[in-house]
Amino acid sequence: MTFRSRLLIAFALATVVPLAMLGVGVRRQLTARLVAQHQQRVDGMARVAAQDVERESASIASRLSTLAGTLRTDDRFRMAAVRGDPGERAYLLDWAEQAMRTTGLDMLQLQDSAGRIMSSGHFRNEFDRLEPEVPRALAMAKGAVLVRARAPEGPFLALVRADSVRVADRRFDLVGGVKVDSAFLRRFAREEGLRVALSIPIPRMLAPDDTSGLSARDANAVTALPIRYFTDSLTTARLVITYDIPELALLRRDVDQWFAAALMVVVAAGLALAIWLSRRLSEPLATLTHAASTIDLEGPELMVAASRDDEIGTLARRLGSMSTRLRASAARLRQAERRATVGDMARQVNHDIKNGLIPIRNVLRHLVQVQEEQPQDLATVFGERRSTLESSVGYLDTLARNYARLTPSVERRAVDVNGIATEIAASTAVASTIKVRTRLADAVPRAFGDPVIVRRIIDNLVRNAIESLDAGGGDVTIATSRAPNGAVRIVVADTGRGMSQDELAHAFDDFFTTKPDGTGLGLSVVRRLTTDLNGSMRVESAPGQGTAFTIELPSCTPS
């Protein structure tokens, strides 16, 4: 996220959040004040509703009392319920339904002292079912109780009361009441905006049409009227009375509109201010960023505008100062690199010239020896060794020309590897304890490369092999063969002291040597030259078991 974006977000939050808090706070305060004003009114309505419930309860009790009175003088009932007359059985079963119809009750059942339903008006065929709990609970409550009455089509809520009657010394309980549904609840909502709902401990028991569809969350002014409720035990349900305050909705709408307008203005102004400020702040930073990205230690000096006297000006000046110091350091570094390069080259030239001079020196020593001991053979021997001298001189001449060009070009032509190997083996003068052998395959193809470079490779490897031999001497073997992939393989092996794993890991590093007077360039030169000829190189060695370098060079003939 860019600095400008962060700045914009920060500004937006800094303006919107306080405004939102203000809007919510004003809204809540307004609601609280208005609800408090109307709460007394709702409480008054609740008292009226409570009186209505009491009145309904008294009405139910009165009707049950009337029914109890009629039962005392009902001979058919006596015959059926007390005497058990089968002829009056149907009368008894239908009695509650008939009584319910005449009294206007929605629920009525007649039970004996054991709680057995003898006649049920709301569920005629529920007879003989034991239900002693309801009369007991009603006796405990001593008033109206909400119960869940069973009906063939499903349960319903009813506000019920109980009464009892004694006929022929037998007690009978009458349980009756009215259905509590949305129509019942609406009777309590006498004013516009007033709503009544029933909240019972198990909400799912309330059928959908039993609620006026209002929850306390939506209510403006709320009060709850406790009412006894019986399921398995006596608990308390609540008649929730809510009042929708019409002016509150209008007030809320007005506040919301003003808040939305204020929010839009503040956000627009805040955004404009944020954009202006972010530009003022971010433009110099963007300039600095651009300048820093164009720093070139080789190019002209960085010009950073540092005229400002604030933090950004300080940053620009420090960036300029840092650029200057970096340029000075880079110049010093380049100088040091140049010096190191010259030294490296000098060491390499020294190494190569030494390698080229050794055969000449050996030939000269040989000639001096012949002149002193067999002067008459001097001409013959000179003739034999002349080619060595010419070859070495030619080699040195090529070296000189290559170094003169600093970037020697590699020739690409057929190279007789066996010939070069034979020549090197012959021209290498060593102590009598050291034997330089060749094992050259006849079918070796010609390598494709530069003969001078091939010679330098083999020469360096042979020198390295001789120097690795102990004072007791040993063998150095130059072998050539055709590799399975068709390349020309050259193996220079010795019986010297070999190399440890650590020495092998650094064998091809520049200036790495285990010899007191070594330059540490021989093997690194060999690797570079082999690479120049598109060849490959590997080494196998173990301490005390000698070393074998294998070079594979591309051949002139396809594989």
């Binding site: 059985r89 149907a90 569920f123 065929n125 529920e126 007879f127 063939p152």
Partner: protein, 209 residues
């Protein structure tokens, strides 16, 4: 009856009792012609189906001239008839409804009595004739209460029709007879007379001069 109809067929015992108090009419019970059954697609209901229980249903639960169902029943004798189509096993019932034809008072009374005895979440649900037929075919309800004729002229055809409407019967379904009912004929003495024929069939004839 008070309006002066010549012939009245009724299943109301109250009406029959009223007819007995009038000298100008005579009433006679007709034969037991219908059996009310409860059909359950997923095994029998957990209610007593003994003769005593069914007699109690006939006596107390329905307002009709009824008795405990008495066999034999034609739908249990499938000998010589084509094997009915049997549907694969039903899914568990999604409702606890004991459904009945909405306009049938006897079926309603029986369904309500079963609901009262079963308790729990069972409910009695009255359906219009077409809806009842669809529900019966689907087998989605807990139980169905409906009447079947006590006698049939073509037993195999009636069995085929019943099996077609209740293809679930052959799997786990069951049909349990509950009660038999009959009608009572009330006729005006001066206009019609009732006479038993040689095979005990009640015939309505002209009164003796």
């Amino acid at each position: 009856m008070d309006g002066g109809v010549d012939l009245l067929l009724t299943d109301s015992p109250t009406l029959a009792a009223y007819a007995a108090t009038r000298a100008d009419v005579t009433s006679l019970p007709l034969g037991w012609d219908r059996t009310w059954v409860v059909a359950t697609p997923r095994g029998s209901l957990a209610v007593d189906t003994s003769q005593v229980f069914r007699a109690g249903l006939a006596r107390d639960a329905v307002r009709a001239d009824a008795r405990a169902g008495e066999g034999p029943y034609w739908w249990t004798d499938t000998a010589g008839c084509v094997a009915p189509t049997v549907r694969s096993a039903l899914a568990p019932a999604s409702t606890h409804g004991i459904v009945y034809p909405r306009d049938d008072a006897v079926a309603r009374s029986l369904a309500e009595r079963l609901v009262a005895i079963l308790g729990g979440r069972a409910t009695a649900v009255g359906l219009a004739p077409n809806a009842f037929a669809s529900a019966l075919t689907s087998g989605s309800e807990q139980a169905y209460v409906f009447p079947l004729p006590r006698a049939t002229r073509d037993r195999c055809r009636s069995i085929a029709e019943l099996s077609g409407a209740t293809t679930w019967l052959g799997v786990q379904g069951a049909i349990v007879p509950l009660i038999d009912t009959r009608l009572r004929a009330v006729v005006r003495r001066d206009r019609l007379a009732l006479r038993f024929t040689w095979d005990s069939t009640v015939a309505i004839v002209a009164p003796h001069p």
